[in-house]
Subunit: 108 residues, 2 copies
DNA sequence: GTCTTCGGTAAGCGGTAACTTACGGTAAGT
DNA sequence: ACTTACCGTAAGTTACCGCTTACCGAAGAC
């Protein structure tokens, strides 16, 4: 149920901004914070949550710490959503075959 | 940024349970609540959040209300995660070509 | 060694989210 | 009409979450 932690981590808008900053590649804490309207300690706390969720990794060089996305964490979240999607589609098909056209209009 | 609402909605474990109950098809509020350790009004509040996030839809029959998943809401969330996945993979490739093998090990 | 940069951690505060109980409203049954 | 079943909403409580300021350690620069 690690996807639960991932969803919780990405629920907060600020933390999602932190996360999305790392799409382009690794960044240091100061760099991340400079593009956000919150303090640097706040960013550190967000990074902690993202790391515990398995979404990001840390690499130390000198006094700086570069954070970057983790493939495994992303894959887990992706698999959850995709699996959900497939099951929902199958369930939708079964409902349609039973003639529940009311649900077929806009409701799955 | 509707995926933000979707992520927020799915962050809560109880609400995620409500959501996952609907994979198999439409259910009434009472049915949903009977499988959960919280009160029925709590379920109603969760359904409200999920509905505002565009993840579920409502269908009234008599005094009952059947809730079910919405394809559009699921698609939006899926597109967000998949788009993220693609961008991250591309960024990872660029980093690898620049010779940042340190990130290639376990960190994307 | 000293100073500065970088960043994690502790403590505390305010807001809000997730519950509960109580109430009201609608539709079906009798 | 009365009752019952089903459900949404309001009000209030509690716990957690995100933020800030203050502090401290670690690794270069001089």
């Amino acid at each position: 149920m690690a996807y639960g932690d991932a969803l919780t981590a990405l629920a907060d808008p600020t933390r999602r901004s932190v996360f999305e900053q790392l799409i382009g590649g690794a960044r240091s804490v100061g760099e991340i914070a400079s593009d956000l309207p919150v303090s640097r300690p706040a960013v550190s706390q967000h990074l902690r949550v993202l790391k515990e969720a398995g979404l990001i990794g840390e690499r130390r060089v000198g006094t700086r710490r570069y954070y970057s996305l983790r493939r495994d964490g992303l894959a887990e979240l992706r698999n959850y959503v995709d699996g959900f999607w497939d099951e929902a589609l199958a369930s939708f098909k079964r409902a349609a075959e039973r003639g529940e056209k009311d649900e077929a209009s806009d409701v799955l």
